[in-house]
């Protein structure tokens, strides 16, 4: 029998409608699951049992009164970088102290309107900077398939919570792969919508031109349900785009016949793990068998993506994180004057990776270096973007491995930041070019660690992206596998 906490949104809603389950039962099942597995996994930084059950009771009452909602009574966990009114918000950093958000992010407002139970703060790399969730002031999260391994990052807690059935769905953020990479390494579905598709109001900014909120779910249908709820124009985010929001669930039905899928020649990199290569190649073969037309494409500037990203993202981060100076919020360490207070507060409050990135960003923006680094990176960004726009003249989607290897061991890359950065090779360009992307389970390594297939779509091409991913899931069962945690 499938346990309640293992159900998808789609299955739960059906059972709630049919009166087979109450949302209180679902919430209790998730809380029990957390009780039994989260000591091992550390997906949750905190959660409020009373508040969660109260929301569940409200959802049950609403349903008994005839109300409906696409997520009515469904528990959704929130990455600790998105503001939820009167809940703690730490960005997995020490620097925010006992901060509690005075307002709801737009995505939270939309989730509430859809009836979701907003539940828990899930772990991440500090300020979303990292690929392993080891850079958290609250300790690392662990991969539910093998707790000696990292879950990926930066939204590691969001991925673990969904893959280990501690919640039904979760929200994360993706600046260079922070949704797709942990989804791949933990074996769930991670969707990064197009830049501008989902409001960033209430998302603590890391790199404003790259950040985007998206979902972690147990299958693609759920990803469509979540996107339907959170997408759309928001007058509180001037970068949200007034593009109509299509019916994403309706877009799932259909076939792949005639859909053209491109395989970038340049993604056959050294260091691509043979098991990952084999699993993603057979996933592509499956897509072909299901009617897609597969062809090779070229993205000639691929090898410059990581360098470009680490200039632009760190430059934007150094500006965005200037606000954490000990004046308006969080922890403060006093000094003789405000400047000394700023320096001491930031020195004590930020972890190593955040310091490295702020310093790097400060360097590439500093007088005499701006043109050589920041401006040059912005120009290379143009070339990378043009590569993709050119490719999308010939194909509808691009298929790649999400990561070059399955999850690595905790501590393995912690001392070598550059090595860690290089592991983002397949996910980073999507953000630079402003595309949408999804990672979905497509196999396992011999050690039993999940492998992810990444599909990339045109800007605002989420419907095609989700349809291809859904048709693949209809024909395979990788997404139904669950880690054994008992």
């Amino acid at each position: 029998m499938t346990m309640v906490h293992s159900l998808t949104i789609n299955q739960l809603i059906e059972k709630l409608r049919g009166g087979e389950l109450t949302s209180r039962q679902i919430m209790e099942a998730c809380l029990n699951r957390i009780d039994s597995v989260d000591d091992k996994l550390n997906a949750f930084i905190s959660y409020d049992v009373e508040d969660a059950l109260a929301q569940a009771d409200i959802a049950d009452k609403a349903r008994s009164e005839g109300q409906e909602g696409p997520l009515l009574g469904v528990p959704v966990a929130i990455k600790d970088v998105i503001a939820v009114k009167n809940h703690p918000l730490n960005c997995a950093s020490k620097i925010l102290g006992n901060y509690e958000s005075p307002y709801d992010a737009t995505v939270i407002k939309k989730l509430r309107e859809a009836g979701a139970i907003i539940f828990g703060r899930v772990n991440m790399d500090e300020f979303a900077m990292g690929s392993s969730t080891e850079n958290s002031a609250f300790g690392p999260s662990r991969n539910p398939w093998d707790i000696d391994y990292i879950p990926g990052g930066s939204s590691g807690g969001s991925a673990v919570a969904v893959s280990a059935d501690e919640c039904i769905a979760s929200l994360g953020s993706d600046t260079g792969g922070s949704i797709r990479q942990p989804a791949a390494l933990c074996g769930c579905v991670g969707l990064k919508p197009t830049y501008g598709r989902v409001s960033r109001y209430g998302l603590v900014a890391f790199a404003s031109s790259l950040d985007q909120i998206g979902s972690f779910t147990k299958d693609v249908k759920d990803a469509a349900i979540m996107l339907q709820v959170i997408a759309g124009l928001d007058d509180k985010d001037s970068t949200s785009v007034p593009e109509p929001v299509p019916d994403y669930t309706a877009a799932l039905s259909g076939e792949l016949k005639g859909m053209r899928i491109g395989l970038p020649r340049e993604y056959q990199v050294d260091g691509l793990d043979t098991e990952v290569k084999a699993a993603t190649e057979s996933a592509v073969a499956k897509l072909e068998e299901l009617g897609a037309e597969v062809k090779e494409i070229s993205l000639p500037h691929t090898e410059y993506a990581i360098a470009t990203y680490y200039i632009i993202a760190t430059a934007e981060a150094s500006a965005n994180l200037a606000r954490f100076e000990g004046v308006r919020y969080g922890a403060r360490i006093y000094g003789e004057d405000p400047e000394e207070m700023n320096c001491k507060t930031r020195g004590a409050g930020f972890g190593d990776e955040v310091k490295r990135r702020i310093i790097l960003g400060t360097y590439v923006l500093s007088s005499g270096y701006y043109d050589a680094y920041y401006l040059r990176a912005q120009k290379v960004r143009t070339l990378i973007r043009q590569d993709f726009l050119e490719a999308f003249e010939h194909v509808d989607l691009i298929a790649t491995p999400t990561t070059p290897t399955p999850a690595f061991k905790i501590g393995e890359k912690a001392k070598d930041p550059l090595e860690m950065y290089l592991s983002d090779i397949f996910t980073i360009s999507c953000n630079l070019a402003g595309l949408c992307g999804v990672s979905l389970p497509c196999g396992f390594s011999e050690k039993g660690l999940p492998i992810g297939l990444q599909l990339l779509g045109r800007p605002f091409g989420e419907s095609d992206l989700l349809r291809a991913a859904h048709v693949y899931q209809e024909a395979t069962d990788w997404h139904t596998k669950r880690p054994d945690l008992d």
């Binding site: 005075p102 001491k344 490295r356 400060t362 290379v380 973007r385 800007p459």
Partner: protein
């Protein structure tokens, strides 16, 4: 690649302990060495991309709307008084 980390931490307003400087400086040097890769490309005639959004100059009507309650915002401040943030004295 060598970098002057003490100048940078001043600009970034981050106080580093001596052992942190020793740890971070070579790591930053290594990353900077890597990003020099971009010098391989000729970008003379390329326009820069600041963001990948299709929008430009988003304007709205200048109308009064809801804003956050002052007390809610100050609740998170390390020190406040009379509705203001308190900082150490700047001018003697």
């Amino acid at each position: 690649m060598e970098i002057d980390i003490s100048r940078l931490v001043k600009l970034a307003r981050i106080e580093l302990k001596p052992e942190e400087e020793v740890r971070l400086a070579p790591q930053l040097g290594e990353v900077l060495g890597y990003i020099d890769k971009l010098n391989e490309l000729n970008v003379d005639d390329v326009e820069p991309t600041a963001h990948a959004s299709p929008l430009s100059n988003v304007l709205r009507k200048d109308e009064l709307g809801d804003s956050l309650c002052r007390d809610d915002v100050l609740r998170n401040a390390p020190e406040s008084s009379n509705g203001l943030f308190v900082v150490p004295k700047i001018v003697e």
